[in-house]
């Protein structure tokens, strides 16, 4: 009986494969954009301009405080109202990379603040400009501190990408949803979908744990 269903589910392998490709592509693209903007956010949040930091803080709070599903709806239904018409894919990328940037921004800011102030003072004393201080002294140390949390954030991003299936984007979760309409065995269908995510996420979780242990050892 199980084999009968498995055979039918694997009859849909092009859909599953396409969904897997979409999940990976969407996550990777959003990851790159999210990291770039997130580092910018982090530098501003940890920076000296109080007002800029506060305004950005409110923006970040909005996206950290509302469910990602609501944000996807905002990208898909509200942006057109102010004249930005997006395809489902573009809306997914915008929502996902924006949320990633907000979370990564706070991680980066915390990392920058964790670097002892003596480091940047020493950099000033040796005549470096602000940009040099950041690029050569503070940021490299901050990156070492935050790498485990960043990898953890990537895992969250991949998992959150499943939510874009709500606006009809054919990712891995949506593929499962479509297949279960004609193969009525949710346990098997979503077991396979889950396995797909597990294959992508589990190595990353492992990596994050290893990095964490190593960085703890480095500070002891």
């Amino acid at each position: 009986m199980v084999w009968f269903y498995l055979e039918r589910i694997f009859g849909y392998w092009p859909v599953l494969l396409k969904g897997m490709g979409m999940t990976i592509g969407l996550s990777l693209l959003s990851l790159v954009i999210g990291v770039v903007i997130g580092f910018g956010f982090g530098i501003i949040r940890a920076g000296h301009n109080r007002w800029l930091s506060r305004v950005l803080g409110l923006y970040i709070d909005f996206f950290r405080g509302t469910p990602f599903l609501v944000q996807v709806f905002i990208a898909f239904f509200i942006l057109p109202v102010i004249g930005i018409e997006l395809s489902a894919f573009a809306a997914g990328v915008v929502a996902l990379s924006n949320m990633a940037a907000c979370f990564i921004g706070e991680i980066v800011a915390a990392g920058l603040k964790a670097v002892p102030s003596g480091q940047s003072e020493a950099a000033i004393a040796s005549g470096m400009t602000r940009a040099q201080q950041m690029r050569l002294v503070v940021m490299p140390q901050a990156v070492r501190i935050i790498t485990p949390s960043l990898v953890g954030q990537f895992v969250l991003l991949i998992k959150d990408s499943s939510v874009v299936s709500a606006i009809g984007l054919l990712d891995l979760t949506r593929a499962g949803w479509l297949i279960v309409q004609s193969v009525p065995n949710g346990l098997l269908v979503f077991g396979i979908v889950g396995l797909g995510y597990f294959i992508i996420c589990y190595p990353l979780i492992h990596l994050s744990r290893r990095l964490e242990r190593r960085s703890q050892a480095a500070f002891l």
Binding site: F62, F77, G186, F190, G191
Partner: protein, 222 residues
């Protein structure tokens, strides 16, 4: 940009939004209690020495952490009827939320317990305290101080995650906001009302976590 917000319609739907808000609060609270129970159990199983008891807990935590909540939700929603178990959507949602957050809570509690310096436990041993006494008098009181904030952080995640239950047609805050979008064709008004509801819960929990942190942080240990 949102100058044309139709506040009259928002006020008209206020009772429904409020109902949705209460439903979200209810789902999150019940989910939190269930997740706490699962988290404590899974954590207790992972830190005790018997391997055959540890394995299921580790598999549970890792499987949950490596798959999205939405897939877990659909797994139960489409899968349970297959096993002849027919439950109301709301209950399925609460089970999924508890199972999901429970795994993260197990990790939070575990890292809280493991963060207690070894010397503390050894000092307890040398003064002749039993295992239970060491746990109760030395380890847990200190672990509690450091885990409450991350646990509240997980509660924030849980509140936000509960919005996914709208996708299996549980009526909560997100779904209530969609009513305005569908009935009146006003997605902006619906989403603004929804977002405001979640932000209220977010700021309440966030300031609670901050207040606890300020009062209970252990000197010299962040």
């Amino acid at each position: 940009m949102l100058g044309g917000l139709n506040t009259r319609v928002m006020m008209e739907y206020l009772p429904e939004i409020w109902q949705g808000f209460l439903a979200t609060l209810f789902l999150s609270t019940v989910g939190f209690v269930g997740a706490m129970a699962l988290g404590v159990l899974a954590c207790a199983l992972t830190i005790q020495p018997l391997r055959w008891l540890r394995a299921p807990a580790v598999i549970y935590v890792d499987t949950i952490r490596a798959t999205p909540l939405l897939a877990q939700l659909y797994f139960l929603y489409f899968g349970l009827p297959r096993l002849g178990i027919v439950l109301p959507e709301m209950l399925i949602g609460i089970i999924a939320l508890s199972l999901n957050s429970g795994a993260y809570m197990a990790e939070i509690i575990r890292s809280g317990i493991l963060s207690i310096p070894r010397g503390q436990v050894e000092a307890g041993m040398s003064t002749g305290l039993s295992y239970m006494q060491r746990m109760r008098l030395i380890v847990l009181p200190q672990a509690l101080r450091t885990t409450v904030s991350p646990l509240i952080g997980q509660a924030i995640v849980l509140v936000k995650d509960s919005s996914l239950l709208s996708l299996i047609s549980v009526v909560e805050l997100t779904r209530a906001g969609q009513r305005i979008a569908i009935d009146r064709f006003m997605p902006v008004e619906g989403l603004v009302a929804t977002a405001l509801g979640y932000l209220m819960l977010y700021y309440a929990l966030k300031s609670a976590a901050g207040a606890w942190q300020a009062r209970n942080s252990i000197p010299g240990r962040g």
